[in-house]
Symmetry: C2
Subunit: 345 residues, 2 copies
């Protein structure tokens, strides 16, 4: 876990983040206590992945308020300021607001700033520990969806970099490996930022899970070929009806999986469910800068200033989803009541 202190109960006074933009070729650990720097790290995807964005926001809140314990009024003002800075850093992953809401709820009625900081830190640790447990539970619940000898497709990066534990969708493969299953994992490279090539392929190699990389455009032909038995992806926000926002390209894969008769599963903790949005059309989708597409690792590949359509996420309609695996089990259609029951249990 690179995004928080090694000592599970301790607090070094800053957030520690492995800068994911520098991977795989450089291992750079950021130690940030300034809230604007933490916000910038989230914005430029130095830290990315819905669960870990939530965890980072929780520890970031502690970092941002720890020195402002003079008066209750000053503390409250600072808390509101830091909350706003972190909450608006990226729009799509709901875990960000969820974690901040949860931390603030933990200090409701607490009038003493010093003890509020202690409670915020305890809550951040709890969020992290629960995420680790949730990853393990999702892996267990998804095991019956795997077959030894099977080939599976995933998209983007959903392993140990994005969560406190083994990850979400990637954690399913890790769980299968631990259970002794022989799995092969196909992973799209995920343009524009290549989370598949830069992160997932390295994590597959590190874990000794056989895999293939493919250009994102090849997913259709792969799912048409009959060699894939299932798709597992993570999520950035799940609406109350099961519509799911995830990395751009996910909706295409879901539609193509349906066409190829391949089951499509979303794997995400309940903290990724947003019960306040009735359906996916209400999920805010972040547009990313044109340069991500017009350049490739600093080299220009398209005409300077050309217009680019570069949404970071798309929305997969619930009707294309075979099941949503959370730490509470596998929700199936109709997703509305199934997800509500996961949230309340």
């Amino acid at each position: 876990m690179a995004w928080a202190p090694d000592d599970e109960r301790g607090w070094p006074g800053h957030v520690e983040l492995l800068d994911q933009t520098r991977l795989p070729h450089e291992t750079v650990v950021l130690r940030l206590s300034d809230v604007l720097e933490i916000r910038d790290a989230i914005r430029r995807l130095a830290v990315r992945g819905a669960p870990v964005i939530g965890i980072t926001a929780a520890f970031g809140l502690v970092a941002g308020v720890q020195a402002h314990t003079g008066s209750a009024a000053a503390f409250a003002a600072r808390l509101a300021h830091v909350d706003e800075r972190l909450r608006t850093s990226r729009p799509t992953a709901v875990n960000l607001g969820w974690a901040l809401d949860r931390c603030r709820a933990a200090i409701t009625g607490c009038r003493e700033p010093g003890s509020a900081v202690d409670r915020l830190l305890a809550e951040a640790h709890a969020i992290r520990a629960e995420d680790e447990a949730a990853c393990a539970a999702m892996g267990r619940h998804a095991l019956p969806l795997l077959r030894s000898g099977g080939c599976y497709l995933t998209h983007c990066n959903t392993g140990r970099l994005v969560a406190a534990g083994i990850g979400t969708a990637f954690g399913v493969f890790v769980s299968g490996q631990h259970a002794g299953l022989d799995l092969t994992v196909y992973a799209g490279e995920v343009r524009p930022l290549l989370q598949g090539s830069r992160l997932t392929a390295f994590e597959l190699r590190e874990r000794g899970i056989p895999g293939y990389l493919l250009p994102d455009g090849a997913a259709g032909a792969l799912l048409q070929s009959g060699r894939i038995e299932g798709v597992f992806v993570g999520a950035d926000r799940i609406a109350a009806n099961g519509d799911t926002a995830n990395k751009i390209g996910t909706y295409a894969i879901a539609e193509l999986a349906r066409a190829g008769g391949v089951p499509f599963h979303v794997v995400a903790p309940t903290s990724t469910i947003d019960p306040t949005l009735s359906d996916g059309s209400l999920i805010p989708i972040e547009q990313r800068p044109a340069d991500e597409v017009l350049t490739f690792r600093g080299t220009s590949v398209g005409p300077d200033g050309f217009a680019v359509w570069n949404p970071a996420f798309d929305v997969t309609p619930a009707r294309l989803i075979s099941g949503i695996v959370t730490e509470r089990g596998i929700a199936r259609a109709p997703f509305g009541p199934a997800l509500a029951s996961h949230l309340s249990s």
Copy 2:
């Protein structure tokens, strides 16, 4: 036309090719007379696109045999050798074998090597001139499929670099522009070799047609968004039943266009139709090297030696195709008899 001499009736003794792998940042013209060099230029995609591969093979045949006019037997042996070298350079585009067959048919019964070379050259010029006319005709036939103010999606590069005229699918947009229509063209970047960013985006800018680039994975969300009125793509080989091999990613776009209720048209000259193959499952699909995906312009982006699934093409089933535009008109389902009539008219 960078791939053949400027003088339409002349012959400089070599094939001239604009090296497409160096575009957009460098303009390198290759002047090749050695058949192995011509084959290599086709293999490494210095020249790419089904129509121009056929034209290159026709002129390459002339280049390969022109110095071997000593005896009829020696000429015949050389012709067979050069034919085999060119024909096997890439497997999917049928225009390659089509052009070679047509050139050889043009010298049937010709016993004098010198005059056979003249006839081969005349046939190569004819193939080129007919391709130019075919592009213009396809553009005319497709005009009723366009609406001023409309947004269209294309994939890969299908303009003046791949044909003798205005191109195939791209030529439709040029034809619309000439007819005074206001069009906006969305183009995928087309990993791994970025023909969209490196070639199509530059050609759009050069022609003054407004456009957007997008990561290939975003095509699903774009077609789901309702802003696209039609898809136009080229083809590398069309089976007798209309199943169409084209650049990897095309099948996905076709399936997603169907899901989004967007018409999907293939634009290709009849030389791209292979009446000997009953359906698309028989079209040979080229697998390209892993390094195309694992590196970018020499920079590594994935783990060294990681396995890659990198087919150059996929096959779109005829049932997803709204129409196939050839120089003879628009073929519609059932494609079998429609394409047969285009071939025989």
